[in-house]
């Protein structure tokens, strides 16, 4: 089974990307001698939301890689734990979205640049969704080539991973927007 190895490689790649990207992510790119500028509220929320989201994704990925997708699917307790992690991620995303929605309505905490960054952020969602689907397609094709079918577990995992990618892409898009200035 190639899939666990592909998943580990993708996961390590994501962590490496995250490490490089997040080193100075909250610092606005400034000329060398200029003083550092504090992050905006939306920037901080996006950063900590992304960190919490990555933690949940890492927990879910760890479960799948260490225990095995099919074992989790067949065991009620494990499946419940996995679903719990996913639901926690959804609740976090809903809470952050609600805060952003309220702030947008009141226009109290966000200025026009925050709103412009927020409007451009969903572009990352589409790109990350395509990448996730492409990774699944390659992984499943290489793992199950020549077999009569794909276990239904992987279809569920594909759905959950697309959902996770969609949720993580929004804060990533926001942070990229601020980095661009």
């Amino acid at each position: 089974m190639l899939f666990p190895y592909i998943a580990v490689i993708v996961f390590v790649g994501l962590i490496a990307f995250g490490f490089v990207f997040f080193r100075n992510v909250l610092a606005l790119r400034q000329p060398k001698d200029a003083e550092p500028i504090p992050a905006t509220i939306l920037q901080r929320i996006a950063f900590w939301g992304l960190m919490a989201g990555l933690l949940l994704v890492a927990a879910a990925a760890w479960m799948v890689i260490s225990i095995g997708a099919e074992v989790i699917y067949d065991n009620d307790d494990l499946r419940l734990q996995f679903t719990g992690i996913v639901m926690l991620g959804l609740a976090l995303f809903a809470a952050l979205s609600a805060w952003t929605g309220i702030a947008l309505k009141r226009r109290a905490k966000l200025d026009e640049r925050d709103i412009a960054v927020l409007a451009q952020a969903p572009m990352v969602q589409g790109a990350l969704m395509l990448l996730t689907l492409a990774a699944w397609e390659i992984g499943l094709q290489e793992t199950f080539r020549g077999t009569p079918g794909i276990p239904v577990t992987y279809i569920h995992l594909m759905f959950w991973s697309c959902l996770a990618a969609n949720m993580l892409a929004l804060p990533i898009g926001i942070l990229i927007g601020y980095r661009k200035g």
Partner: protein
Amino acid sequence: MPKAAIRNQIRRLRFEHDEMTQQALADAVGCTRQTIVLLEQGRYVPSLVLALRIAHRFSSAVEEVFELED
């Protein structure tokens, strides 16, 4: 973000107005300090509303604060 195509006198005007801080100007016009920093560095083009608010804060006409780059 659109590339900056306008110059502005915000930094000079701040110092002429009792050395107003970036944060004080940001609070007065309803934006973040980050936005003021980027404006002063010519890395952000403000909306008309923000440009008018900034000009109003300095009791200036908007074309005295902002001008198109050639």
